[in-house]
């Protein structure tokens, strides 16, 4: 669905590239996470792919269209939810969606239905300017679905949302993906990426450091250990045992059968820990 080869971009049109030699492919029907700290080049790459920034060097094919010679018809197939809400503050929520509906050449979704989906039911006749930040974000998210996109760009889709609404947004993303929509998710939130993405790319300083599935990364970079805390003769003892070594496996069985277990955790690495290990950088 997306094919990027040797992409470079410099805002000053010089050799000081904000995106350097970026190459990756996104398969149809997958959720691809583009992860990195602020200023890493995530949004720049995404803006090139959506035509908001002119491509300077490299090749990019999006939804079958070459970005260098982009046809406006491509936008009937793609949707984008921006990190910064961008809706008409002088129009109501419904008027906002109704306006955008008319700009597409493909069948569009009903505005009221979309507002209901993102939890803005009953707010359709309120001006977007009177919305809270989270409500505007949801309206922007709803708008990105209006043309039933086949390829869906999501830039920090849950930023600034409370946990229950964020959970709702995540379930919508999963549902759309089940329906066959390809998702390009840009975020610095590793938990969302871990939960949603089939594959992730780590980008730092404009360069992709790694691309793989969260599962493979955890297997590759996580420690195969279990940390167990138990009570032995009135004393609390903590031990780390390998899940691979036969000796440790027997010890673990022994502890479980003989003592009172207080806590037990696998020492699987989080995506964030892997990111730091791979890139040597934090995510903020």
């Amino acid at each position: 669905m997306i094919s990027v080869k040797n992409l470079y971009h410099s805002y000053n049109n010089d050799k000081n590239y904000q995106v350097k030699n970026v190459s990756f492919e996104v398969n149809e029907g997958e959720i691809f996470g583009f992860l990195g700290p602020s200023g890493a080049g995530k949004s720049t790459t995404q803006n090139i792919l959506t035509g908001l920034l002119r491509i300077q060097k490299g090749e990019a094919i999006v939804a079958g269209y070459n970005v260098r010679d982009m046809s406006k018809e491509m936008f009937n197939k793609i949707g984008m939810s921006f990190e910064q809400s961008n809706v008409y503050s002088k129009l109501t929520a419904k008027e906002n969606l109704d306006f955008y509906r008319k700009l597409f050449d493909v069948p569009t979704r009903d505005s009221i239905e979309l507002l209901k989906l993102v939890g803005l039911e009953g707010k359709e006749n309120i001006k977007a300017g009177n919305f809270s930040k989270g409500m505007k974000h949801r309206l922007t998210f709803a708008r990105s679905m209006i043309n039933n996109p086949k390829l869906w760009f999501l830039d920090e889709p849950t930023t600034g949302l409370d946990p229950s609404i964020a959970a709702n947004i995540k379930s919508i993303i999963k549902e759309k993906n089940r329906e066959g929509v390809t998702v390009f998710l840009t975020t610095h939130n590793m938990f969302i990426a871990d939960e949603l993405c089939d594959r992730v790319a780590f980008i730092v300083d404009g360069e992709i450091k790694l691309i793989d599935s969260p599962k493979n990364l955890k297997l590759q970079y996580g420690d195969k250990l279990v940390e167990v805390e138990y009570v032995k003769e009135g004393e609390i003892i903590t031990e780390k045992l390998s899940t691979v070594l036969e000796k440790d496996k027997k010890s673990l069985q022994n502890i479980i059968s003989r003592y009172e277990i207080r806590t037990m955790h696998t020492k699987e690495a989080t995506l964030e820990e892997i990111f730091i290990k791979v890139t040597g950088r934090g995510l903020i």
Partner: protein, 333 residues
């Protein structure tokens, strides 16, 4: 493309009709027209007011009505009271077999002299047929001051049309919605045309309303439309570029105000400067627009003359576009 232009235009219209500043701009042509009518009476009104006694001398009333506004009263006392009011009105009252003139004493001398002449002409039984004056007419049918004000107002309205475009683009910038539009099948040209339609409609309908309210109904509207549409190109271009390069309404309003300089400069050059200075204003599209409008309003402009002016304005607008095209492209990214 046309569908999207229409949708963008309707959105802007809906927003503008709810916005105080835009609404104010939209009704400005009506306000201007009413003010012009109030402060510049038509040429037929350039006369004096006389107060006479009712039923005293009908023949004199009929005679004077040809040359002055006549107010009739029942008694001398009423005439006296009327003359004492603030405006300039002269009383002509009978005394024995003659008439005398009643004034407050502070009326302009020319008005009193005019009243004296009218009274004398009546007494000497001088009629219009007795005149031997030969009239050479320049073909001007409309009052010059009114024509100047209406012409200036038409140009002013076209700048306000540009201002409307600026306001609507700034709204897009403040809400950061241009990027969202760019991710629809709407091309940048479609977007710009859609944004410009309201400014063009405003210039056209505002100017036509102005023309009708101020009484220039006899002029050739098609000729006027030609000049309005061509002179609107510049206002639209500058409205767009101001919208795209400014982030708030106040900054944009300040920048748009700069446009009034070439406008006023062009008008003053034509109205006040001699022929040898005119060439210094040939670069100014408003100079040519004012000249074109003047020909239309006076009913003397031929199509060929107007097409030449329209061509000059168009070429000057294209030159302006060449200079600002980069800013427009950058502003849309």
């Amino acid at each position: 493309m046309l569908k999207r232009i229409w949708i963008i235009f309707l959105r802007d219209l809906k927003v503008n009709l709810k916005d105080f500043l835009s609404l104010y701009i939209i009704i400005v042509p009506i306000i201007i027209a009413i003010l012009i009518n109030i402060f510049t009476p038509s040429i037929n009104d350039t006369t004096i007011n006389l107060a006479l006694l009712k039923c005293e001398n009908q023949e004199m009333i009929d005679y004077l009505e040809q040359f002055a506004h006549i107010e009739l009263f029942d008694t001398v006392e009423e005439v006296k009271k009327r003359v004492e009011k603030r405006d300039n009105i002269i009383g002509i009252l009978p005394e024995a077999k003659k008439h005398y003139i009643m004034t407050q004493g502070n009326e302009p001398e020319v008005i009193v002299e005019y009243a004296k002449l009218l009274k004398t002409f009546y007494e000497l039984d001088i009629k219009m047929d007795d005149t031997n004056a030969e009239i050479i007419e320049f073909g001007r049918k409309v009052p010059p001051l009114k024509k100047t004000l209406v012409n200036l107002s038409i140009l002013f309205i076209s700048i306000l049309g540009g201002m409307l475009i600026t306001l609507n683009i700034i709204e897009e910038k403040m809400d950061n919605t241009i990027s969202a539009i760019n991710l629809t099948p709407t091309t940048r040209l479609t977007f710009l045309i859609g944004k410009s339609i309201l400014g063009i409609f405003f210039s056209v309908f505002g100017s036509i309303a102005l023309i009708f309210i101020t009484g220039f109904r006899e002029i050739n509207i098609l000729k006027l439309l030609l000049v309005i549409l061509i002179s609107s190109i510049l206002s639209i271009l500058l409205g767009i570029v101001q919208g795209l390069t400014n982030d708030d309404v106040m900054n944009a309003a300040g920048s748009v105000k700069l446009l009034f300089l070439p406008l006023i400069g062009g008008v003053l050059a034509i109205e006040m400067l001699g022929d040898k200075w005119q060439k210094f204003f040939y670069w100014d599209p408003f100079y040519w627009a004012y000249k074109g409008n003047d020909l239309v309003l006076s009913g003397t402009g031929t199509w060929s003359e107007l097409l030449i002016y329209a061509g000059i304005i168009f070429i000057l607008s294209v030159i302006v576009y060449v200079f600002i095209a980069k800013s427009i492209r950058k502003g849309l990214e």
